[in-house]
Symmetry: D2
Subunit: 151 residues, 4 copies
């Protein structure tokens, strides 16, 4: 029922390599920016999230590169929650330039206590706050998936 | 029969984030450095590789984060060839700090013609040059794997 | 008579270091983004500028750091042309977070032919296109200054 | 009497931009690496320095770009102490590729208490530890210089 959260960014000159396209590592930085926007939309921002006692640690990242992002293009970044486990969350990411799909990928984060960084179950309030971006079609599909993170 | 290629690097201050550890995207930059060392060992360097007519484009990357890398630590990076397909290559990566495993992952690159960037079969000379770093135990194991890149 | 060009950006998590603030080198990337916006405002974009035959190479950069930029803050970046020489241009930069001045600095760029990268005099059309952002109060003040770039 | 401290690094692919050369902001990251090596040589490392009660904050940076650094080249970085004020230190930096000078520059750091980040006079032990890298020819020359940082 949920939908991806969207925001946009412009490719910086500093992010493009000798091949004239965004260097691959920067896509993870782009995904991370999507996470920041998700915290803002769901929790009122990263700082608010810390104050409410939770932080997140990334444990897995993967990216499929479909086409190169070019300097000064305005890209659209999408993020949705593909799975909410007991202590972990998988987000699904997509980066497009107009109608051209550039990259897709996933991040897996583990929820931790923001004071001692110990793993914690996802609090109910966080689960509810993330609900609008939980992707209906993906929710169960990863259960038996290759990652097998059961949180 | 092959063995991973090893080199080392020191974590830079600029690479560490507010949590005091290397920011996740930089691990892909570290993996890329391992690729540069692989081109050097196998082909005499990236420029030589281009001159001989081949270039590579990354199509997939994934990283598992096991423990955080700390500022000023000297890390060991390992890379081995997990699969040589018809036009694509999967490399397996590992980053350790002493006996502590920090990150593992894989990259999938496609071989292209260095002049027009069209996909090409991996030349025999390149295949032979990479042989010392082809990991015996992994060679066939990805054939039916989840990525299913058949090159 | 001219005024600075303004745009805004949000500080990324990846840009903040162990001290919790934007790492110093990223301010030059921020300044570079201001240059990209200046090319857009004056020339219709970097690509258009290249097509019209000019490119720019940075020969000097300096930054004064007044206060640290924090994660997720929306900063305002200002750039104005402090001096248009025969072949070089000095731009003046300012980064603020609300009413707090974070950094000020200057870049000196040399105009080059976009085909062969040879130094060229600033074309009249480029000079005219940049006029709205030439800072009245700075124009002559650097003439005898410590940089002594006479272009 | 002092001499610059030297170390070397290899240019990464990720650091080179569309023009095929190291993007300008990365030179400040290179300079910062020289600082890390200076802390190691003088104080036994950054962590040791923090434990002894001091930290440093950069307040000014400048770079002159003489020639572009190319991918995979092994560069030599030099750093020397150009001035030790009461609370501040100016370091002079040089980056060369063989006999080709690529960049020169300066950083100004202020010494702070590592617990509360309040400005402090440079301790005698730190002054003595830095002595081997204090450049004889520069020591006094900046006293009346354009920066005018009196510490």
């Amino acid at each position: 029922m949920g939908q991806p959260l969207r925001h946009s960014l412009r490719v910086r000159y500093a992010e493009c390599d000798i091949q004239g396209q965004v260097f691959n590592a920067h896509y993870l930085t782009y995904f991370d920016q999507s996470m920041t926007e998700l915290w803002r939309a769901a929790f009122g921002g990263y700082t608010k999230m810390l104050e409410r006692g939770i932080d997140l640690v990334v444990v897995h990242a993967e990216v499929d590169f479909h086409a190169g992002a070019r300097f000064d293009r305005e890209l659209t970044l999408e993020v949705g929650v593909a799975r909410l486990g007991r202590t972990s969350m998988i987000t699904r990411h997509r980066i497009v330039d107009g109608s051209t799909r550039l990259a897709t990928g996933e991040l897996c984060h583990v929820f931790v206590d923001s004071r001692n960084l110990a793993k914690i179950p996802i609090p109910r309030w966080a689960r509810e706050a993330l609900a609008p971006w939980v992707l209906a079609d993906c929710q169960g599909s990863r259960e038996g998936g290759s990652h097998g993170r059961q949180g």
